[in-house]
């Protein structure tokens, strides 16, 4: 029917030809060549991941703070599991049959073929027993992991803790596998890459009976394991422990810095947690419990609590006033229980009057600083309040306020220094002046500062005009260096000379005669400089604040203490700060009566609370 009929034979021949070629090839492959049989027998690879020990952490005096302890996870590949004696298995592990089933199903849900955690952190004894009998349980294996051990029950906020990686991390970072640990917060997180080292890999060849025959390709594809690097932090463990004890009955924080280097000597956030509780199998449960606690023990107040600075801020306003040349040391104001202007009244406690600048600081006179603030905002050198405000704000920002300081914590907050634009939006441009924002004169209003920023400010004053970014890490093993930004001096916009009256005022506040607000902080033989603060709290009692540094000349420690809801700065914050200074400088507390007073805490308040 068709001229091309014969072409059918091409198709048939073609087909048969290929069929023959295949059959011949198959014959050669399957019958003649026996090498494949052998290859099949030895085809199995076993990838063993080796986990390095995590880097150790030492305090500034070389004391070991964080070390490692071994733990074992039981891993399973559901696909490889065969029938086994479940009774014996369960009894070794100490679980029920239901528990076994539940865990198996969980593993199967995750994946049939990828290894996952069957049971976390079994004890060494269990692991040892299981290891011997491992051949009875195909599909199961032991994975050794390192957990952390803390030599002292302190500094959990600083040191942080490690936990299992979550899905988000797994998706974004190839290094981590399911069941790995990663630093969650604190130093463990900030320096995760330093501390974790590098996982190693060994590939073994196994035969069809699952026995190891040797190394795959003589280890060509293996990766050597790199141990985590140790590091030193600037923390003083004794001081830290002492601080946490002092704060036991209080809610708040202490931050202590070495002014000459910016190294953080201590950072206390109360209430706190024993870091050893944040280790191990029950970590998840513990975290859940702690998160539900109304006082929020996991919350690091030193970095993340934003408070109004209160009267401590007067020091800064004074410095700005001097720099802007709207006041001088001798500038004095009269105070009659407060500041009155156009119907606005800012109250002040009773003290001698009039006061000059040093006196204003020594006695913490609100009126004085309202006047200073007005002078700053109505500076004739500038066209309007807005411009004056912007200049004021620039000075403020140079102390590190309103932005993250850039320390080696990952969870700093910025605080808040409002901008002129903010007030413009709220009050419309040209419709606000110093009176509208007068509360900022005494450290209230929209100002928000974290304790870290406060301590940094104190260090700046102690240094008479500059600071190093506060940081914890001081040294990393090997060739790694800490970030160079910690070695750079940050200058404020205030001339160094203007700091002396402020320092003088602070010295007198502690060591001056009656009326000095911080006399309770005085230490014999040491010139402590300090400033009290009382931050108004719309939700409850005022917060008690104290900043201090010592000694006055060549200061070794600068700190900020915040005690929530405890009234006047002089009441609790000052004694705590003073004790911290005494402990750090003399290593010994002579004023045990003060110590006991603090340790006892606010018994009146406690009584009130128990009576309710």
């Amino acid at each position: 029917m068709n001229f091309y009929d014969n072409r059918r034979y091409v198709f048939i021949v073609f087909t048969i030809l290929f069929g023959l070629v295949f059959i011949v090839r198959l014959f050669l492959l399957q019958v003649v060549d026996t090498s494949y049989k052998v290859s099949a027998e030895n085809n199995s690879q076993s990838h063993v991941v080796m986990y390095p020990a995590r880097g150790l952490i030492y305090d500034r005096n070389g004391e070991l703070l964080v070390s490692n302890q071994a733990a074992y996870d039981i891993m399973v590949v559901p696909n490889n599991v065969r029938q086994f004696d479940t009774t014996e298995f369960c009894s070794i592990l100490g679980i029920t049959q239901e528990g076994l089933l539940e865990r198996m199903n969980r593993a199967k849900d995750y994946s049939w073929r990828v290894r996952s955690v069957f049971m976390k952190q079994v004890s060494f004894d269990v692991a040892a027993v299981l290891q011997e009998k491992m051949f009875k349980y195909p599909g199961f294996s032991l994975q050794s992991r390192t957990l952390r051990k803390y030599s002292r029950p302190v500094a959990s906020h600083i040191l942080g803790y490690i936990g299992e990686v979550d899905k988000g991390i797994l998706e974004n970072n190839e290094y981590y596998a399911m069941g790995d640990y990663i630093g969650v917060i604190g130093i463990e997180k900030s320096y995760e890459e330093v501390l974790r080292g590098e996982k190693g890999l060994k590939i073994y060849l196994k035969d069809v009976h699952n026995r190891i025959i040797g190394s795959y390709e003589e280890g060509k594809y293996d990766r050597p394991v790199k141990v985590g690097k140790n590091m030193t932090i600037s923390l003083d463990a004794d001081l830290q422990e002492y601080g946490e004890q002092l704060m036991q009955k209080f809610v708040g924080s202490i931050v202590a810095i070495e002014p000459s280097s910016g190294e953080i000597l201590s950072m206390v956030s109360s209430p706190t947690v024993d870091p050893n509780l944040l280790v191990g199998r029950n970590l998840g449960e513990t975290i859940r419990r702690l998160s539900a606690d109304t006082l929020n023990p996991l919350f690091n107040r030193a970095l993340m609590a934003q408070y109004p600075p209160g009267s401590t801020f007067k020091t800064i306003n004074a410095l700005v006033g001097l720099q802007e040349r709207v006041i001088r040391n001798q500038t004095s104001y009269y105070c009659d229980y407060g500041y009155y202007y156009r119907g606005i009244h800012v109250g002040c406690h009773s003290h001698k009057a009039p006061l000059d600048l040093i006196g204003g600081i020594q006695h913490s006179c609100n009126t004085y600083f309202c006047n200073v603030f007005r002078r700053i905002m109505e500076n004739p050198a500038y066209a309007n309040t807005e411009e004056a405000f912007n200049h004021w704000r620039n000075h403020i920002m140079s102390f590190g306020f309103g932005e993250k300081l850039g320390s080696d914590f990952t969870n700093e907050l910025k605080g808040n220094i409002p901008t002129a634009a903010y007030y413009d939006r709220y009050y419309t441009s040209g419709h606000w002046n110093f009176l509208t924002i007068i509360s900022m004169a005494i450290g209230q209003g929209e100002l928000l500062i974290t304790p870290l920023q406060m301590a940094n400010m104190t260090a700046t004053i102690a240094n008479r005009g500059w600071y190093y970014i506060p940081h914890l890490a001081t040294g990393i093993e090997g060739d790694m260096d800490i970030d160079t930004k910690y070695l750079e001096k940050n200058m404020t916009t205030i001339d160094s000379a203007y700091y002396s009256p402020i320092v003088e005022g602070m010295a007198l506040a502690v060591n001056g005669g009656p009326g000095s607000t911080a006399r309770i902080a005085r230490i014999p033989d040491i010139t402590v400089c300090g400033k009290t603060g009382t931050a108004q709290n719309p939700h409850g009692e005022d917060h008690s604040i104290f900043i201090a540094f010592a000694p006055k000349d060549d200061p070794k420690i600068a700190l900020a203490v915040y005690v929530e809801n405890e009234g006047f700065g002089g009441t609790w914050a000052a004694p705590i700060a003073s004790l911290m200074i005494e402990k750090y400088l003399t290593d010994n507390i002579k004023r045990t009566w003060l110590e006991q007073y603090v340790r006892r805490g606010n018994t009146k308040k406690e009584q009130e609370e128990t009576n309710e």
Partner: protein, 474 residues
């Protein structure tokens, strides 16, 4: 009543028997390849063998439907079905799910549906309709272009999914054209280019150019009249080559041998061109054109390999040709496949006993590499059996196609044959290391609902047409 009897009497039971054998044996191997994931119950629908069981069931249903329908419907609706299928291929870009970097699947409910599989039978329908239409001839350029459009439109759409493997299947339809009278010479040209392609990769290019020149020369010797023309070519040819070579040395240009060969070649071509025109020998011009095309091809192969093909595709070809040894990377699949098949020995390790299969060493072992399970568990006996089954099936189909009176039926039949042939050759060839890894399934054997349904549709529409061959005259 009468019609049904006709069907039963006229349908080709041999083919149905072969189909059943393949489907059942295929299913057994899928079962073995997936057994460790579940508890072994045949109707475990969460496992692949359970799902395949469903697909086989649905296929049987499909067969019944096909046989109930009137045979003339297929040719009647050919273009419509083809058009619908093109729309599907476009729609998959908009609504399809992206899997492994390619948008080839629709996901509806719990099922996945791959339009590129169904494109094969429907393209065959459209092509058959076109080629059997009144006044169609393959000598006519316009008709050729139409055929080309029908074949290559779906191919192009599939290429950009991207799915290189499925695209290549469409070259099978060229075989249909061949059966219908397409120029034999072009087929030969195609085959020659394929061989040239392989040689280009294996051997250094300058040698190839030299070889082309020599072959051209020999052809001249055979076909040219004045014998002395041959010598007249050889000497100047050698001379030109020598001049260029020396020139290179003297001028210290440091050209590669390749470039020297190229330059010489072009020079020689000019000479020959002049001589041919003078001698007014069209045959010589043809040979010259052939040589020129060949060299052009060599150059473009080089360019395409290095600049157009992706890294892993280049690798696959090199590995197949034995030029690269890459047991961990691209060569891994094939290596594992050969190990699995090779370890089966003469009679295999027995049903459900394949260690390589069990331990999942062979990737894609339910789909593209299902043949490995056969090899490992059933040995040479099993693999030879499968090969023979396919050979018999295809041969039988050729016989059936030839006994059709209707052009449409015959052409459609050859569409079926060509597609089956390509799948058969490429899939098995790939698993035993004779061809590069191109991901296409083994018909009726590999796991996959779309594949099973599409091929069953393909086969049984043809069987239906065949059973009605006495009625259909067009």
């Amino acid at each position: 009543m009468v019609r049904r009897n006709n069907i039963v009497a006229n349908v080709d039971w041999i083919t149905i028997f072969l189909w059943t054998l393949l489907v059942v044996f295929g299913w057994m191997n899928i079962y073995s390849a997936n057994i460790m994931n579940g508890d072994g119950s045949v109707i475990d629908f969460s496992q692949r063998y359970g799902k395949q069981f469903i697909w086989i069931g649905v296929s049987v249903l499909l067969i019944v439907i096909i046989f109930i329908l009137d045979a003339k419907l297929f040719s009647f609706f050919a273009y419509l079905l083809y058009g619908l299928m093109i729309l599907m291929l476009i729609a998959v870009f908009l609504f399809g799910k992206e899997i492994n970097g390619a948008r080839s699947w629709f996901a509806i409910g719990g099922f996945q549906f791959q339009p590129s599989e169904f494109a094969k039978p429907f393209t065959a329908l459209a092509l058959a309709r076109l080629l059997s239409s009144h006044g169609f001839t393959l000598k006519d350029l316009r008709s050729l272009i139409l055929a080309g459009i029908i074949i290559f439109t779906p191919a192009l759409l599939i290429l950009i999914q991207p799915d290189m493997g499925s695209t290549m299947v469409y070259f099978a339809f060229l075989l249909v054209l061949y059966r219908e009278g397409f120029s034999q010479n072009i087929m030969i040209l195609g085959a020659s280019l394929a061989i040239l392609f392989i040689l280009t990769l294996l051997i250094d290019n300058s040698i190839i150019i030299l070889a082309i020149w020599l072959i051209g020369l020999i052809l001249f010797r055979i076909f040219s009249e004045p014998k002395k023309v041959f010598l007249g070519m050889l000497i100047p040819g050698a001379a030109i080559f020598g001049i260029v070579f020396l020139g290179n040395l003297l001028l210290e240009k440091n050209l590669a041998v390749y470039t020297i060969s190229l330059i010489s070649f072009i020079a020689i071509c000019f000479v020959i061109l002049i001589i041919s025109l003078r001698a007014r020998n069209p045959g010589m011009l043809k040979i010259l054109a052939g040589m020129f095309i060949a060299v052009l091809f060599v150059i473009s192969v080089d360019y395409a390999m290095n600049n157009i093909l992706k890294e892993h595709q280049q690798q696959r070809i090199y590995v197949t040709l034995g030029m690269e040894d890459d047991p961990q990377g691209v060569g891994y699949n094939v290596n594992q496949s050969k190990i699995a098949i090779g370890s089966g020995g003469f009679s295999g390790k027995g049903f459900l006993n394949g260690t390589q299969t069990k331990l999942q060493f062979v990737p894609e072992q339910s789909t593209d590499f299902i043949f490995c399970t056969v090899g490992e568990e059933w040995g040479f006996l099993g693999t030879a059996l499968v090969v023979i089954l396919f050979v018999i099936l295809i041969t039988r189909l050729v016989l059936l196609a030839e006994r059709q009176r209707s052009h449409f039926s015959r052409i459609f039949g050859y569409g079926l044959i060509s597609v089956l042939l390509v799948h058969f050759i490429v899939n098995i060839g790939m698993t035993i290391g004779l061809l590069p890894v191109i991901g296409i399934p083994l018909p009726f054997f590999s796991y996959g609902g779309s594949s099973m349904l599409a091929f069953t549709l393909f086969l049984f529409v043809f069987l239906k047409l065949d059973s009605n061959r006495l009625e259909l005259l067009r």
